[in-house]
Subunit: 344 residues, 2 copies
DNA sequence: ATGAAAGCGCTAACAG
DNA sequence: CTGTTAGCGCTTTCAT
């Protein structure tokens, strides 16, 4: 059933039927009702490709996901992001298009989105410190929002980001409050913008107490279980080992925990671990102190906001870039135990 | 730059240019070369909407993701699946469309894909035991492949699945070999097909040794950290507690580990944990025994296969359904320690 | 308030 | 081998 058939059925012109269905004001209420009823009865849905061709709008948003070339793995938080964004798109009648490409193919992916004309806007994932994509997208002239930031970008751009620096600063203070003085940071690759910000937060907290980050306890690399395991084992094997780890991702933290277990150390007693991703527990002399870091829901919120922002940018072309910084929820549960932490 | 402009530039008809670019045989190699060069030079990409309208093919595959209504969370393995599928699509020139919808909206999502005409085929995620979607999709008449199975489906359908039963059977045998006799299973919701199969594997392994699963050590529910934590604490608090857990997801296993840590038990000594998701370690009297379950790469492989299968189904309409069962890699590393496990 | 007609950019018969 | 012509299904001027 297409528009023409429906219009013949109704003894109206396709024009009138189209107008009736799309809420144009110059249609009488009577015919509009009649048209709506017939459309419902026959399960008519406009062909989206034809509409897109006629209107010039694709009614779709493209997401370009960088594929880690080494691991062929996409960032696990992506699922949370799109579950937030997807809801917004669905309400607005937009489709979500995903393109997973290696670092080398990124540029081409953006150009292809533009010239193929299958999206009206783009969400950029995994921005790096020196990210050429931003000026590329400005040149191309397609609306976009970056999830995260590219610190050294000269040109203005729209972004939504979680306050990584603040989150890691608070987490570090939390460990310092527990009495830890030797803290290891197991971070993501520092070509990624978020990793730089997380280290900055870590160092700021240490600095506020007159401490300085030990280079040997600063590690950064791919976000894998193996990496976490190997780094933690290395650091724990040294004569003076960290008493706590701050870990950039849940996956990595699993490896760290494995290393701790292998060495016969006790989590939360001999060594503590904080991740940026989930609910974890700590101990002060045997008393539980849960720490909630709500990264997953923050990321979903970031997805929702990015989508809204992008749809607004599409609706108001030529408008100024917008930005939004989210605070990740991070709350420390009631501590029932005595104050001092493990011996430094 | 569109086809007409490019053809004027080349002093050729749009038809010839189109044929040259799409590899039609009746074009001379000389002009084909010339056309290709010009297209590359000017960054020409055909407008996909116009092509879709003209050909009747959308050149896109739709993925319908069920959104867990309670948690608003998508299954974390989804990222691995689409990273596998995405590569196949990209090579074949297909786009990937994602639709994230709650359980209630599923039917409408499939119908909309069909009537809007924006996809040529569908991948179904998260099949349940009694899944009405299969007969719906057969009625609608759009090619599809199910990631996973719906055990009680009457009609034939195409699917790709990991052998969950076998994976859990082997994992259980592994724990039994270590000397464990009290094993807890923390499973996904048993309305999901995969959860049923995992339990079946668990029970089969126990049965092979003349053992029977204890109902109090069988738990199933949402795949969250909190659920894992709460179930493990409950089971560990009982007078006779499991000495090992078999856990259905990495996220859940994090909660289980937290529970173990809180109770001051030692991972791999007092209690062992196997997950279906990642690299983990076990201990026999202090010696490390790594167990590798490569779910993540298996899922990526499943994504790749599903995509290939779907493209074939699209290419050969009316063909018979295809199925494919993958064995998850699960290998036990070299054990350097003495044989006996923890006391039963 | 309704309709006729002209495209959107491409592909696919049908000529030549 | 290349070009001409006619749509794909819809929206959108421009008339009436």
């Amino acid at each position: 059933m297409n528009l023409k058939q429906l219009s013949e059925l109704l003894k109206l012109s396709p024009t009138t039927v189209s107008r009736a269905l799309n809420g144009y004001p110059e249609v009488s209420e009577a015919t509009r009702k009649r048209v709506r009823a017939a459309a419902d009865a026959h399960g008519y849905h406009p062909n989206i490709r034809a509409r897109a061709l006629a209107t010039g709008r694709a009614m779709a948003i493209g997401h370009v996901l960088p594929l880690d070339s080494r691991n062929e793995v996409v960032n696990p938080i992506f699922g949370d992001f799109i579950s937030g964004a997807g809801e917004t798109y669905a309400q607005a009648g937009y489709d979500m298009l995903i393109s997973i490409v290696s670092e080398a193919e990124q540029e081409e992916a953006y150009r292809a989105f533009r010239t193929k004309g299958n999206v009206d806007g783009i969400i950029v994932h995994g921005p790096r410190m020196h990210d050429s994509r931003i000026s590329l997208l400005n040149d191309i002239g397609i609306p976009y929002v970056v999830h995260g930031r590219a610190s050294d970008a000269r040109e203005p751009y729209s972004w939504v980001d979680v306050n990584n620096m603040h989150a890691f600063e608070r987490a570090t203070h939390f460990l310092l409050d527990l009495g830890h003085r030797r803290i290891g940071l197991i971070n993501g690759q520092e070509s990624m913008d978020f990793a730089i910000r997380r280290r900055a937060g870590f160092e700021a907290a240490l600095g506020a107490r007159g401490l300085v980050a030990e280079p040997r306890w600063l590690r950064s690399g791919e976000m894998s279980e193996t990496f976490g395991h190997d780094m933690a084992r290395e650091m724990l094997a040294a004569p003076t080992a960290p008493t706590a780890f701050l870990v950039s991702s849940m996956i990595v933290a699993i490896g760290v925990r494995r290393a701790i277990e292998e060495l016969g150390l006790r989590m939360g007693r001999d060594v503590s671990v904080i991740t940026h991703d989930d609910v974890l527990s700590y101990f002060r002399n045997g008393a539980e102190v849960p720490l909630f870091t709500a990264t997953r829901s923050s990321v979903r919120e970031a997805g929702r906001l990015s989508a809204e922002m992008l749809l607004e940018l599409i609706a108001t072309p030529g408008g100024p870039p917008r930005t939004r910084l989210l605070e990740a929820e991070l709350t420390v549960g009631q501590s029932t135990g005595p104050a001092p932490g493990p011996a430094p």
